[in-house]
Amino acid sequence: MRNRSLRLSRWTRVALGLFGLTIFFGIWGAGSITGLASSTFLPDPLSVIGRLLKLVDSPYAGHTLLEHLTASLFRYGAGLALAIVVGLPLGLLMGWFRLIDDIVTPMFDGLRFIAPLAWVPFAALWFGSSLGGPVLVIFTGAFPPVLIGAYRGARLIDPQLVEAARMLGTPHRRMLTEILLPDAVPSIVSGLRVAAGLGWQSLIGAELIVVSSGIGYMMVQAQAAVSTRTVMAGIIAVGLVGTAVDLLLRLGEGAVRRRFGVAGPSK
């Protein structure tokens, strides 16, 4: 629990956040504009933002920034969807059937500590470098938190709810879909937020290496051309999109908690 004795109003906190950002950009700007660092070594903030705006409509490395981002988001969506389609049912099954838990857990624990980027060469080799490979890399990043969220949710259900459901003659399949799944929703949504972040990070990594479109690809091309301003603009675009995705999920999480979290056991 954080120390809450210092109570600040909402606006004070927004101002503090802006203050932090100002310091960050201030130091960055001071470093580059004073000539302390050369403009190739550290491009100044204003020129980077100018570059970013220009990339929106003029193509670089074959596509505009928005086209690159669209290609990236498409792969990202596919990888995340695959992680959900596999991880969510598997996590619930592991939480309900001891046997499945015993079979899957050792394998899962062994694999999940391998960084998604380590899979890149094989992902490209096995599934191609345009869609299949990057999707697999995102999958390896996003899958563990999805599975753990579903598994934890299913395991931490109030035992009395399980007893009530069994007493009512609930068959296994309905137990998973109508009892464990809704009970696990808050935990699943928390897992999804982590998965979304890790998946996005993994994607950029994958695109640096394999594909011929996407925001990661654009940054690699810019690096080869020593256009550090373009690289920096790409970094900012990656950060902004990541923040936007997280913000959307956070809104969704709030709505889901209001619907499913109330009166349930806190997790």
Binding site: L161, E163, A164, M167, T170, V262, G264
Partner: protein
């Protein structure tokens, strides 16, 4: 027709190098449509008895039968009402009550009719679409009882069902349960630590001892209730002022106090 029969039931727990005898040699027969309440100090194993009849727990030796069959697991023929209601928080009142009927593949029209009947029986009309957390504790327990009753179970197992309710609500629910038992009698096993509640509701009150849990005495209440015509009194406080009621209460309290004394002596 279903009674409940505990035949020489023992339940032993093994906890890190220690063996705890929770229940020792429990033999108890509950006849069809009889209402039996078990009272006893906390930790005497009364809830374990109920969990065995429900099929959530199993005897280390001896047997538990409901009807003609030994209990092998939980099922809708033995509906349980839990102390903390155990309603599904993401389901509406109707969905909670409907689940057991859907599991039993009862045709939709019939299921809806049965839910409507039980909602009326439990005075829950108008709350069909509410979620459990929007209801008071008393209302939530009505839903839990409705969820059990709608299955038309042979046996009703109630584990301190009013223990989580405030005093006034509790009295209302007790009166309600007596009314329900008259309309629709069932075999009931009722766990409580409230002596008055046990006498007011039950045909027999079973007093249990603590550590290891054994049956101390079984006190017949039904003959007294019938000869003193308690049922003609509508209100619980009128019944409780009857000399015959007071006498039973004094007797059960004395038995429980012996247990309390025993425990204190053992600890010191």
């Amino acid at each position: 027709m279903s009674g409940i029969e505990f035949n020489r039931v023992c339940r032993v727990y093994h906890a890190s190098a220690r063996t705890i005898v929770a229940l020792q040699d429990i033999s108890l027969t509950i006849a069809d449509r009889e209402f039996v309440a078990i009272v006893g100090p906390s930790g005497c194993g009364k809830t374990t008895c109920l969990r065995m009849a429900a099929g959530f727990d199993f005897p280390s030796s001896g047997s538990v039968r409901v009807g003609e069959r030994a209990v092998r697991g939980p099922g809708p023929d033995r509906a349980v009402v839990f102390q903390h209601f155990a309603l599904f928080p993401w389901m509406t009142v109707t969905a909670n009550i409907m689940l057991g009927l859907r599991n039993a593949k009862v045709p939709k029209a019939e299921a809806e009719q049965r839910v409507a009947n039980v909602l009326e029986l439990m005075n829950l009309q108008g709350n069909e679409k509410a979620f459990p957390h929007q209801l008071s504790g008393g209302m939530q327990q009505r839903v839990a009882i409705a969820r059990a009753y709608v299955l038309d179970p042979e046996v009703l197992l109630m584990d301190e069902p009013f223990g989580a309710l405030d005093a006034q609500t509790r009295v209302l629910m007790q009166e309600e349960l007596v009314r329900l038992a008259r309309v629709n009698p069932r075999t009931v096993l009722f766990i409580t630590h409230a002596v008055e509640e046990a006498i007011y509701l039950a045909d027999h009150v079973v007093v249990m001892t603590r550590g290891p849990g054994k049956i101390k005495t079984i006190i017949p209440v039904k003959p007294v209730r019938e000869s003193e015509a308690w049922d003609r009194k509508e209100r619980i406080e009128d019944v409780m002022n009857e000399p015959s009621f007071v006498q039973l209460r004094t007797e059960i309290w004395r038995l429980l106090r012996e247990e309390q004394k025993g425990a204190t002596l053992k600890q010191s």
